[in-house]
Amino acid sequence: MKILVPVKRVIDYNVKPRVKADGSGVDLANVKMSMNPFDEIAVEEAIRLKEKGKASEIVAVSIGPAKAQETLRTALAMGADRAILVQTPDEVGAEVEPLAVAKILKAIADEEQPGLIILGKQSISDDSNQTGQMLAALMGRPQGTFANTVEVEGDHVIVKREVDGGLQTVKLALPAIVTTDLRLNEPRYASLPNIMKAKQKPLATKTPADYGVDITPRLTTLKVSEPPVRQAGIKVADVAELVEKVKALGIA
């Protein structure tokens, strides 16, 4: 079974995003970029399935600017076998919307015929939480979103999902789509030898047009602004003063 893992290049999670003064977006110039953290978890899960003998090949895919190659090389260094970059115009901030990403992934899945596609549940840039579900709909296949554990057994996969009240377990017929939650695994770091080896692994470059997908956005961003800033309040000297303040709030 082949596993497809879409990985997105996003602002590093340690960086505090700054809104551009002209309100056109978030400033990404000279900002550290990394693989979306949920996608690292997706790559790791695919590698573990391969190590368990449940998968034969892992193909990483990224839709983005030329620099998204770096993200794919990271996936290859972690253990993916080959990569596909679907390159989009380079202008900063040109983000492809989840619907268009899902359409491109659907076209790639039609070609590659993976048994499992593992995505992140959410990209920490646009916070959409849509792509996996959309891909599953376009393919007419089942989805195990917000996965906490994934077990492939024969022609199906059992996914334990992190839901609002706790956990829910579903059984999905393969091929299936899974999206990762934080507790699925702890991604490995790529070792230096593996980073070197990754440079030799195949990386194909395509464009959205190769898959016949129109990436014109459906949503227009009219403006991007700073959220209201919260002012720091006071510090109390001791517990006695805190008790007074809490009592004054009328909750105790």
């Binding site: 505090k16 899902a102 920490i124 709909a137 009240g165 829910q168 377990t169 309040g233 006695a240 709030l249």
Partner: protein, 309 residues
Amino acid sequence: MKTLVLVEHDNAKLSDATLPVVTAAGKLGEVHLLVAGHNCGAVAEAAAKIAGVAKVLVADDAAYAHGLAENVAPLVAQLMGDYDAFLAPATTSGKNIAPRVAAQLDVMQISEILSVEGPKTFTRPIYAGNAIATVESSDPKLVITVRGTAFEKAAAEGGSAPIEAVTGPGDAGTSSFVGSEIAKSERPELTSAKVIVSGGRALKDAETFAAVITPLADKLGAAIGASRAAVDAGYVPNDYQVGQTGKIVAPEVYFAIGISGAIQHLAGMKDSKVIIAINKDEDAPIFQVADIGLVADLYQAVPELTAAL
């Protein structure tokens, strides 16, 4: 404009998460509700009583019993022939189903809206709430998830909408429900609680977390929350996580105890009315958003506070 709102429920009870979505939908036009479930008549009746609702559709079928997206999304997509907008709460079930509906309708979803600015214009948080985008849709139909803390709850009583049975394609045959581990608790729910006591990595382990945080929460009748670090380390279940990728909360009072205040955590609680932080590090970022801060060792401060309340 005619809107269809997905009702959140467990077949027996309507969840409060539905109510802010009704308010958001009301800003767009006429509000109809969809109850998709099994033996869910009581939910439909409760839905019909919500103020401002014009009609309730009920799809009662074993295929919808567990809210499986593979089965519910085609039902919604079919009903959307008669509607201009579909709205769901930005809960795990809403987030699971709505994008699947959007793709079936070939429209972009607008995730976690904070406000309705016009018939096709909305604000939504991006980058963990560090930026707010105003977006306009060019799609013929809207698919939206609604952040519950951003809209007032519609009144649960006062309406008397007619209830109409509908049927959908039923079981897609690709997925099945195996089981769930849903903890029953007497505590208020995290997303609707007036007071929340949250603990972080500093709480050491599950026993210590329970020994320090629970008595304070009990005293205040509060819900219990946690940082990702506390959840990852197994101090508390995953659904206690507050933050960018956990639950978004906005209680009257939020206690952050032994939590540093990473941007991902702040994203989930910075709209709380009053934030109280207890941390031994006076430079912890949580103090930049806290209304009341106490620099102290939580192992002394929290038991003292609990005893004094």
